[in-house]
């Protein structure tokens, strides 16, 4: 049994199922990447894992425990953390305040964790007094990830962290993601940059119309001709 696993997840909004028996899993210290065409239900799968979507069938298991019925806030307390695709920073608040808000549930040790985040993203330390809304796209994503790390999560879920970010920054950001994984965090990530993302993935999932089409190690998927032809643009 994987550390975090969403099994056979089925559900959606207002009647129609967006997810149809989708399964995603991730181990501690590893990176799982979910790729697929637009409308495949990738973001919905992340929401389902985080409890922001009521499942009609299937379950979510964290560290051997069934958490399917748990609301998102309680999942945060259990060590899960989510970086949404958009609106993922408090735009009117400074970088430091953003991080502080990330750690709001913790009684102490917030200052140290902020230090750790600044170590991971040195640029944020420089801009700590600037409102997050005034930062560049890449820096803003760093704030978003940093905020999510403030709870010292065991699982970090990233919904397209590189959307609207320049290619060089994508590379940089993925390096950081690997670094975070090396600290023992399980990372579940949805990505548009499928090629680059699968390159760093321990496990990759190709989702089509809410179903798992291909599953395998990142390298294996990249090598698979069919996957390359249909989803990675040759």
């Amino acid at each position: 049994m994987a550390f975090l696993s969403g099994q056979d997840m089925t559900g959606g909004y207002t009647g129609t199922d967006i997810l149809r028996g989708c399964t995603v899993e991730v181990e501690k210290g590893e990176i799982s990447v979910v790729v697929g065409p637009n409308g495949a239900g990738k973001s919905t799968a992340m929401k389902a894992v985080f409890g922001m979507l009521v499942l009609r069938r299937g379950k979510v298991i964290l560290d051997g425990e069934d958490i399917t019925g748990l609301p998102p806030q309680l999942r945060v307390a259990r060590g899960m953390s989510l970086v949404p695709q958009t609106h993922n920073v408090f735009a009117s608040m400074t970088v430091e305040e953003n991080l502080e808000m990330g750690g709001v549930t913790r009684a102490q040790g917030v200052a140290e964790t902020i230090g750790e985040v600044f170590e991971l993203f040195p640029v944020l330390a420089e801009k700590r007094r600037q409102p997050a809304g005034e930062l560049s796209g890449g820096q803003r994503q760093q704030v978003a990830v940093g905020r999510a790390l403030m709870t010292k999560p065991s699982v970090l879920i990233l919904d397209e962290p590189t959307a609207g970010v320049s290619p060089i920054v994508v590379h940089e950001l993925f390096d950081k993601v690997i670094e975070i994984a090396h600290r023992g965090v399980a990372i579940l990530m949805v990505e548009q940059n499928a090629q680059q993302a699968l390159a760093i993935a321990d496990t990759g999932y190709v989702l089509v119309q809410g179903e798992n089409r291909f599953t395998g190690s990142g390298r294996a998927l990249l090598a698979d001709d069919e996957v390359r032809m249909s989803f990675l643009g040759g």
Binding site: P72, Q73, P84, V89, S92, M93, G102
Partner: protein, 337 residues
């Protein structure tokens, strides 16, 4: 030279001091409205009645204290009664949230439904205060009236114009400054205050960060209620308490909040002063002021008043309309409300 001094004194006495005092009162009211708007995302039509309710409690407490012979002369007993009024207003506001607003809040209804609900509460509370204390005009300021009276000022300076500075005006300004300082310290420096800003900024992300929405909402109501009780009491102490007038304060308060960009506390304060100064400046007859500044042969015949005092509420309305059309996000605002 003396004419110029007289003009300055006159302007201070009839324009600057009253407008500053009034501006403080409006700003405190607008802060409450803007806070509720940024956290609960609706325009609270009941805010004027909350101010009225708070003032009513102040008056009852003042009566009680007076009966018991307790006073803080030369200051108004109302200032001593303020904590009671704040506590009562908070209690009532939290109850209305629990019994009325919460039902709609958890269902995430459209803001307009909340507006209609708040209008219902306004109706209810306007009846309640009028029933309990009666619709009459009440003066409850029992402090020493003047810090400087016009006569005293004239005697000391030898000028023709007097300047009076009433105790209630000083109290208004001091209390308002203290409230604003405390509020901003809370919002900018404390963790709880920051969670409130975070919730106002991005509700979904606040939830993902584990911020408890109920706590934030309760806090917003608590602060708004305190501000309402304080603003209402200060206004009533400075002018007089009449339930009907508090209903009419709603317009300048909304105008101030919108001019400042709904949801922007600094803007609400600026808006309060904009509204107050416009109201006073446009309804003031400038005849005497001008007579000090121009040669006798140029004396104006009219009152030189732009607008009759009866139309002062129209001024806040026009400010509102102009802001809505030219800068819908408010004069200071960047973020759309």
């Amino acid at each position: 030279m003396e004419n110029l001094l007289n003009a300055v004194v006159l302007a201070a006495n009839y324009l600057v001091i009253p407008a500053t005092t009034y501006g403080c009162q409006i700003a405190l009211g607008a802060l409450g409205v803007t806070l509720i708007f940024s956290v609960l995302r609706f325009s609270n039509f009941a805010h004027g009645e909350m101010m009225s309710f708070g003032t009513m409690i102040t008056i009852f407490t003042v009566w009680g204290l007076q009966a018991a012979g307790i006073s803080i002369q030369p200051l108004s007993t109302a200032l001593l009664a303020l904590p009671v009024s704040i506590a009562a207003t908070i209690a009532v506001t939290l109850l209305t949230d629990r019994w009325v607003y919460r039902f709609y809040r958890v269902r995430r209804v459209e803001p307009i439904i909340m507006v209609i609900v708040s209008a219902g509460l306004m109706f209810f509370f306007s009846g309640l205060t009028r029933f309990v204390i009666g619709p009459e005009d009440r003066n409850f300021d029992d402090g020493v009236r003047f810090i400087i009276s016009a006569r005293e000022f004239k005697e000391r300076t030898g000028l023709a114009e007097g300047m009076s500075f009433r105790t209630t005006q000083a109290a208004t300004i001091i209390v308002a400054v203290a409230c604003v300082a405390l509020l901003f310290w809370f919002l900018e420096r404390t963790r709880t205050g920051k969670t409130m800003r975070a919730y106002a900024d991005n509700e979904d992300l606040a939830l993902l960060s584990g911020i408890d929405p109920e706590k934030v909402v309760m806090l917003a109501w608590t602060i708004a209620a305190s501000l309402a009780a304080i603003a209402g009491t200060l206004y009533g102490m400075d002018k007089s308490y009449k339930p009907f007038v508090y209903q009419e304060l709603l317009m300048p308060i909304f105008a101030a909040a919108i001019a400042g960009g709904f949801g922007n506390p600094l803007g609400a304060i600026a808006g309060g002063f904009l509204v107050a100064f416009s109201e006073v400046a446009l309804t003031y007859p400038y005849k005497r002021l001008v007579s000090y500044l121009v040669p006798p042969s140029w004396q104006p015949d009219g009152l030189l008043q732009f607008l009759a005092t009866d139309y002062k509420y129209a001024i806040s309305f026009f400010i509102l309309i102009i802001v809505l059309f030219t800068r819908p996000t408010g004069l200071l605002g960047k973020r759309s409300a």
